[in-house]
């Protein structure tokens, strides 16, 4: 039977018996981490659901002040980054070092584009006094409903902010992956970090897949 006498390598750390066991454990570990993230974001989605069902009209009006075309374009940017990410994983599976680096760099660039667009959108909100706080004011709703409108924007900033934070962390992960890929750490036998990094990136993309319609597309037909 295998014991602890084997030399520890990246692909086979001393607590594991085989590289396959380590890969399976790492992948399962990332999936379990992702379900904690589902419950974490889920709490915010739950708050959103409660308040949208309580104040459907105000939420629709507030939502319509977001630029749906920018939001949709940004969604496309993130989907592109998911494509480049999975191609990076595929390149790793095939042991193509240069392709791994290229695709992860592309993923990173697209991620920065997304964050840049978000920064632009937030700045727009700041200009329009739609940031919750003392100077919040949404012209399109009556004075008595300002609190409800502020709730929408609180959720908007909280959820997109949390999402952006996860993108920044994802960017950090990409940086590390690029560095290690350039050092030749990954090959067809061992590419687990690229794999689980990809899982994380796709998950953040899935969060946005839900954020976009829930925040930007509330009863758009009303405003047109």
């Amino acid at each position: 039977m295998a014991d602890h006498a084997h030399v520890e390598t990246l692909a086979l750390r001393e607590q594991f018996d085989t590289a396959a066991q380590q890969k399976d454990a790492s992948t399962l570990g990332m999936w379990i981490f992702l379900i904690t993230e589902i419950m974490f974001f889920g709490g915010m989605f739950m708050v959103y659901t409660v308040y949208r069902s309580a104040y459907p009209d105000v939420f629709a009006i507030a939502s319509s002040t977001l630029n749906v075309y920018i939001g949709a374009a940004n969604t496309v940017v993130l989907l592109c980054s998911s494509l480049t990410m999975v191609l990076a994983v595929r390149a790793a599976q095939l042991g193509q070092k240069k392709a791994i680096v290229t695709f992860i760099v592309l993923t990173l660039i697209l991620g920065f584009v997304f964050l840049g667009v978000k920064a632009y959108e937030w700045n727009e909100k700041f200009q329009e006094h739609h940031i919750p706080g003392l100077s919040f004011h949404l012209e399109e709703v009556a004075p008595g409903l300002q609190g409800q409108a502020q709730l929408f924007f609180s959720l908007y900033f909280a959820m997109t902010g949390l999402h952006a934070l996860h993108m920044v962390i994802g960017a950090g992960i990409m940086f590390v992956l690029i560095r290690h890929a350039m050092q030749g750490r990954y090959n067809a036998e061992y590419y687990t970090p690229v794999d689980v990094g990809g899982l994380y990136w796709h998950f953040v993309d899935i969060i946005w897949i839900f954020l976009f319609p829930l925040l930007y597309l509330i009863d758009r037909h009303l405003k047109g």
């Binding site: 496309v76 989907l79 999975v86 595929r90 796709h202 319609p213 047109g224």
Partner: protein, 101 residues
């Protein structure tokens, strides 16, 4: 036991990607159509389809072990419990009056 040694083709990934773009365009366009209360249902349905595409193909759940699939289903179930059960409180306020009165 390992899950996958299946390497998908670039073509597969590009097709999935195009489907995702199409779904994004669709959900944006449909938002401008008056579907009443079904707007949110359609939007969520499209979002769920996009999620499934990303999960099954980009995250390789298609080729994953049964355990991975169970983990994912479990998480979604727990999210459903959180949202639906909490909502049931807010939705049912006033259904039954104050006890004893």
């Amino acid at each position: 036991m390992t899950g996958h040694h299946h390497i998908d083709s670039v073509k597969t990934y590009v097709f999935v990607f195009l489907a995702l773009i199409f779904a994004t365009v669709a959900t944006t366009a449909v938002a401008f159509v008056d579907l009443g209360r079904f707007s949110v249902v359609v939007a969520l349905a499209i979002a769920v389809c996009k999620m499934l595409l990303v999960a099954l193909f980009f995250m390789h759940v298609r080729h994953s072990t049964a355990l991975t699939k169970l983990v994912l289903i479990g998480a979604l179930l727990w999210l459903a419990i959180l949202i639906l059960v909490t909502l049931s409180d807010f939705a049912s306020r006033g259904w039954i009056g104050t006890l004893g009165r």
